[in-house]
């Protein structure tokens, strides 16, 4: 039997005959495959994130009237935002006060979530010894995230309201005569709800950092005579820093841009950076909304840059 016949009967049987290779003549180049694989996601980010972000910046310099956008250069978005600010100096104008209040809320939520988050992560990473328990307890903390944020916010109403559990409980014990009014629709309830919603965003990255700490380092510190407190300050906290920074960035960016929690829990009464944007949009003043978005973006970016000075985030992911 000639080689040719054999090959017709079962192509590719004879090694090196070339038929098997000829069956796929056009091999795609690796870089083309990469483009094919990553391209769609890149396109989504381009169309729905990068270009929109560019539009925010561009539109913030457009003019507007009561009905429409006027696409020519104008600083009105910004001047309207800071209206009267120079005249009022040294008093803070409304926009200044609003940003100050946003920063204050942000700082309070950050400090509280960091404190709670650190100790929860510490407990899970160092005190809970079995992997199963670690998994189980972490899952226990995640379950509330299986439901919508708004639901978790309104869940406070039956507890904190005028006739809520806390007030009626306090009245019954005779500690107070009138219901406490500042429990709900106040800065207190906003901070409480934000802590309730976002502490776990602090726990996860800190826990991830802590779990990677080599246990022998802690033993070494202990053997070298360090007290528990010294080990904490000199070993555990420095090594958990990446997690602390990533968690902080999460919490800070969420709170800086938040307008929903502040709206619902503040009874639509508390002004904040995100709420200004929402209000401007509802009034169809898009350039002013965009100008505020740019300001918020710059402030958030500055905070993140400051924090990422502390650790290289890309390396940690």
């Amino acid at each position: 039997m000639s080689e040719e016949v054999l090959q017709q009967a079962s192509p590719g049987l004879i090694p090196g005959s070339g038929t098997a290779r000829a069956a796929k003549p056009t091999r795609l180049s690796p870089s083309f495959i990469s483009w094919l694989q990553a391209g769609p996601m890149m396109l989504v980010f381009l169309a729905f994130f990068l270009i929109p972000l560019a539009f925010v910046v561009i539109v913030s310099f457009w003019d507007y009237n009561e009905y429409q956008l006027l696409p020519h250069f104008s600083g009105r978005g910004y001047t309207d935002t800071f209206e009267g600010c120079l005249a009022q100096l040294p008093e803070l104008c409304t926009i200044g006060k609003t940003y100050l209040k946003t920063l204050k809320l942000c700082f309070m939520v950050w400090a509280i979530t960091l404190f709670i988050g650190f100790w929860i992560a510490y407990f899970l990473a160092f005190h809970v010894k079995s992997k199963t328990w670690q998994m189980g307890l972490s899952l226990l903390c995640t379950i509330p995230f299986w439901t919508s944020n708004v639901i978790r916010m309104i869940a406070w109403i039956p507890l904190l309201g005028r006739n809520g559990l806390v007030n009626s409980g306090l009245m019954k014990t005779g500690l107070i005569n009138h219901p406490v009014e500042w429990l709900l629709f106040s800065e207190f309830s906003v901070v409480l709800a934000l802590v309730h919603l976002f502490t776990f965003f602090m726990v996860v990255p800190i826990f991830n950092s802590m779990i990677r700490i080599d246990k022998s380092l802690i033993e070494a510190a202990y053997d070298a005579g360090a007290s528990g407190f010294q080990t904490l300050v000199n070993v555990i906290i420095p090594l958990s820093k990446p997690g602390i920074v990533i968690g902080s960035i999460f919490v800070i960016t969420i709170v800086m841009g938040d307008f929903i929690t502040i709206g619902v829990m503040g009874g639509q009464q508390i002004a904040a950076a995100g709420k200004i944007i929402e209000t401007r949009v509802n009034a169809l003043q898009f350039p002013a909304a965009a100008a505020n978005a740019v300001i918020l973006l710059v402030i958030t970016f500055l905070i993140i840059t400051m924090m990422s000075r502390i650790v290289d985030i890309k390396k940690e992911l």
């Binding site: 994130f49 972000l53 919508s148 639901i151 309104i154 033993e219």
Partner: protein
């Protein structure tokens, strides 16, 4: 190290328990309150026990057209889930070798995650407004809008779910043993066969995890939908709208129903992941079992 548990263990254990109570307490309160009797109000004590408010939602006589919003949210969630899975797995594969624009994609994803949602949402709404204006000016004067659930709304949700999908893919391929693919190639598998029969079965549990993330993130998404979704509302948007006006336990009933869907989806997904992991453990490798 020391024997037994140190005192700090007990202090932190109590702290942890308090945190869990803090997490769950309020939510349990509204689940319970959604079973108020017909005369019940927004706060305790319960005024009878019934499914009156939940039934009212499904009759459509309540505060919102629950059915329509429910279907919209479900449709969007499922589409977001599918797109997130496909694009994340593809991009995750791409990141396993170096390619140009790699860092642009990476930083876009991270930025999309941390730029405040209201800004992304505003940007998308501006973009579509400008597109609308262009269409009206050049092609069709009577054009209404290109904004909608499956255009601007879908895009807005994807900017939120894709970064998570990509980060999960990084975590998967960090633990992935490329020798398995090499073995498949040595046995003559095409790249597609290698992916289909070797890579995919191994990463499948985590891929389901990505789908789960995609669905629930979209299902609960509010901030990005707020400006970008157009005229229709998703369920969370309806719910947020209700918070300012409602004085009946309808809102708790709605909350309970939304939660129930999330819980069902997640339990199903976790169950599937569990089954797949078991199968993998049982059938995945015959190494060390001898020749038969």
């Amino acid at each position: 190290m020391k024997e037994g548990r140190p005192r700090s263990f007990y202090v932190l254990a109590i702290f942890f328990a308090a945190y869990v109570l803090f997490l769950y307490g309020p939510m349990i309160a509204i689940y319970v309150l959604s079973f108020q009797g017909p005369q019940g109000g927004l706060t305790f004590p319960m005024n009878g026990v019934s499914t009156f408010w939940i039934a009212k939602l499904f009759q459509g006589t309540g505060i919102v057209d629950l059915g329509a919003a429910f279907r919209r949210s479900l449709l969007l969630g499922v589409i977001v889930m599918i797109v997130t899975v496909v694009l994340s797995v593809a991009a995750g594969m791409a990141f396993r070798r170096k390619f140009r624009a790699q860092s642009i994609l990476f930083y876009s994803a991270i930025a999309s995650l941390i730029v405040p949602s209201i800004i992304t949402s505003l940007g998308i709404s501006l973009e579509f407004r400008i597109i609308d204006d262009l269409i009206k000016a050049h092609w069709n004067e009577n054009f209404e809008t290109s904004m909608g659930l499956l255009t601007s709304g879908l895009g807005a949700h994807l900017t939120w779910t894709l970064p998570f999908g990509l980060l999960i893919m990084f975590a998967i391929f960090n633990r992935f043993d490329p020798r398995l693919e090499e073995a498949a190639r040595d046995l003559g598998a095409t790249p597609w066969q290698t992916f289909r029969h070797v890579v995919l079965p191994i990463i499948l549990p985590s891929v389901i995890g990505i789908g789960l993330f995609g669905f629930t993130l979209s299902w609960d998404e509010l901030a990005r939908s707020s400006q970008a979704i157009g005229a229709v509302n998703t369920l969370p948007l309806d719910l947020q709208g209700l918070t300012t006006t409602v004085t009946n336990p309808d809102i708790y009933a709605l909350g309970t129903v939304i939660s129930a869907v999330s819980f069902t989806v997640i339990t199903l997904a976790l169950g599937t992941i569990h089954v797949l992991n078991k199968r993998q453990a049982a059938k995945g490798s015959d190494a060390g079992k001898g020749l038969v």
